[in-house]
């Protein structure tokens, strides 16, 4: 029997038991669809985080006070449990290093903003003029040269305080100090859970005076290029160790490293959910096996007849094998469609989440469907091929 005839005969057989075939195809399709949709979700989450990180800056190197080892992890450094503080002089020295395009010392805190009888608590960023370009923040109006007494308002803050007119040039009070608005940020939205539309930016010296501190929260460094990130990181560590009396008491992290960690974690998560979804495919495979075993029992007489009219066992095996192939192929294709539709639905419902199923997941889903279907057919096809024609013809 030719391959074409085997495929045609098996297809006709699959089509003749329409409801049963449709149910198997549906089970397979749901498995493949689940793999595709869940990986799209995982991949979407990964891309979302990566994009968020990328929005923080380009070729970014971040200096935190405190050593991870000496202060019980990065959280320790965040909480300020540090043996020696970062200072503005440290930041200026870093600015002189080769490979550093720009740097920005950073202080954060909260203070009360008041103007024209209005009052609210705001998050305050203290930085230099480079803070905005490093953090990819743009000004809608005005400018920020980080001269003393300048303040830049987030878009929402500016709207709240100066809804009727231009905020630039207006006077405000932040804490116990007076500032003149020099600019308004354009709409930035949330980035890593931090809404830049509701912050104010002041020169770092003013922030230090406001918060009564000489230290810095962070130093942000933008390297010249991607290739310069590692040398800048090493040079910064060396420089600060020298400046801190030979003690390596700062943590220098790169955006790349953090990004890579998130990438790895979310990549593993995507694989994990894909794996869980693949279990449903395995279940579908068992369903295929069960249904095909039933089919062999129901079609015993037909198999006996095929043998009586001269079909060798191998041809009978190939026929059942091809039936499983058709079912898996249809299940895989239909599942791919479900997966694409599901991912499209997710993107429609959550436009922020770039839930595009990766090509490998679709390919792996379809391939797994084919493999499980074909594997599941081995036992029934073998059983059909081994049937004794005399017994089979009598329907036993």
């Amino acid at each position: 029997m030719t391959l074409r005839d085997t495929l045609a005969l098996s297809l006709a057989s699959v089509a003749s038991t329409r409801t049963r075939s449709l149910l198997i195809v549906l089970a397979m399709a749901l498995g493949v669809g689940a793999v595709v949709v869940l990986t799209a979700l995982g991949e979407g989450a990964r891309r979302y985080v990566v994009d968020q990180f990328a929005s923080l800056g380009t070729n970014l190197v971040i200096v935190l006070p405190g050593r991870a080892e000496t202060s019980g992890g990065v959280m320790g450094a965040v909480l300020g449990q540090t043996p020696r503080d970062l200072t503005l002089d440290d930041a200026r020295a870093i600015g002189q290093l080769p490979g550093v395009r720009r740097y920005a010392p950073l202080n954060v805190g909260t203070a009360e903003l008041a103007s024209g009888g209005r009052l609210r608590e705001v998050a305050v960023l203290g930085g230099n003029a480079e803070l905005l370009p490093i953090r990819h923040m743009a000004l809608a109006r005005g400018r920020f040269t980080a001269d003393a007494g300048q303040i830049v308002l987030g878009r929402v803050i500016a709207q709240e305080f100066f809804a009727d007119g231009d905020a630039v040039g207006q006077r405000v009070r932040l804490g116990d100090r007076r500032f003149r608005v020099s600019g308004v940020l354009s709409e930035q939205g949330e980035s890593m859970g931090f809404n830049t539309d509701e912050v104010v930016i002041v020169p770092v010296e003013d922030a230090q005076a406001l918060f009564n501190t000489e230290t810095l929260f962070r130093i942000l460094i933008e390297a010249d290029s991607r290739a310069a990130i590692e040398p800048v990181k090493r040079a910064t560590t060396r420089l600060l160790t020298l400046r801190h009396d030979g003690e390596e008491d700062v943590t220098v992290i790169t955006q790349d490293a953090v990004l890579a960690t998130f990438d790895r974690i979310l990549g593993a998560l995507t694989l994990a959910v894909a794996g869980i979804a693949a279990i449903s495919l395995a279940v579908a495979g068992i369903l295929v096996m069960n249904v095909m075993l039933v089919a062999v029992t129901q079609r015993t007489a037909e198999i006996g007849l095929l043998k009586a009219i001269g079909a060798p066992s191998a041809a009978v095996r190939r026929l059942f094998f091809a039936e499983a192939l058709w079912l898996s192929l249809a299940g895989g294709a239909f599942g791919f469609l479900i997966g694409q539709l599901g991912s499209w639905g997710i993107r429609l419902a959550y436009p922020a989440l770039p839930a595009w199923p990766p090509v490998w997941a679709s390919a792996a889903g379809i391939a797994t469907a084919l493999a499980t279907g074909v594997l599941a057919s081995l036992l029934p096809a073998g059983r059909a091929a081994r049937l004794d024609p005399v017994r089979a013809l009598s329907g036993k």
């Binding site: 029997m1 005969l9 006709a12 003749s16 007849l305 009586a308 009219i309 001269g310 060798p312 013809l393």
Partner: protein
């Protein structure tokens, strides 16, 4: 050359045993039989006499436990499974009491099956099946499934399927067993027509009237041939 040597089919000391619980039943107990090309035989005997087992061995559906089966000079009982399948396809046709049409296939497709198994091209298959349908007078029923055909029509389709590759031997197991007398007579006429055109026809039956129509009568009892009359 003796008659036995010239025979197309030669069975020598064929034994076929089955286990029924603790007991061993000899369904065929040392069968010697020579059948010439173009003969018309009936095999008769009571239930359990071994006539169906003999037909299965002749049709290569069952392997004997002992003895030789020579078909056209070759010992076919010793052949491999695929080789036996090929002999079945090309040399032997089966007609069953219960027709054994594939229910999801049409009359046309049922007759086409052996040609498909043989790997014959679709265009030639179509021509040969159409000719066969015309020969059995069922051209207008070509695309009806078996449940849309009468018993006689089903058996005629089964005969067309059994003979589409022009086998040398046609084995019929109670071919009229499920048909009324008139339709049965039509089917017998069709089988005898094939015999007249040279096909060796072996009919296993309980029906004395049908058995009597053959030119050679084999009687069986307890796995042995107890009568062979011409």
């Amino acid at each position: 050359m003796t008659a036995a040597a010239a025979a197309m089919i030669r069975l020598e000391g064929i034994v076929r045993c089955f286990r029924m619980g603790d007991q061993e039943v000899r369904a065929l107990d040392g069968i010697d039989l020579a059948i010439g090309a173009g003969e018309y035989l009936s095999v008769m005997g009571p239930s359990g006499s071994g006539k169906s087992t003999l037909l299965n061995v002749l049709g290569l559906l069952d392997r004997p436990d002992a003895g030789r089966y020579i078909l056209d000079g070759a010992d076919v009982a010793a052949l491999s499974e695929p080789a036996q399948a090929q002999v079945r396809r090309n040399r032997i046709g089966f007609v069953f009491q219960s027709f054994h049409l594939v229910p999801r296939l049409t009359a046309f497709e049922n007759i086409e099956l052996p040609l498909t198994l043989e790997g014959i091209a679709p265009a030639e298959r179509r021509a040969r099946v159409e000719a066969a349908l015309e020969a059995i007078g069922l051209t207008d029923r070509a695309h009806h499934k078996s449940n849309e055909l009468s018993g006689g029509q089903r058996q005629r389709v089964a005969i067309a399927r059994a003979t589409i590759l022009q086998p040398a031997v046609l084995l019929a197991d109670e071919p009229t067993g499920n048909l009324d007398h008139r339709i049965g007579a039509e089917v017998v006429a069709l089988l005898e027509d094939l015999h007249r055109r040279g096909t060796t026809l072996i009919v296993v039956t309980h029906d004395r009237e049908l058995g009597a129509r053959a030119k050679r009568h084999i009687a069986m009892r307890d796995g042995k041939i107890v009568g062979d009359e011409r």
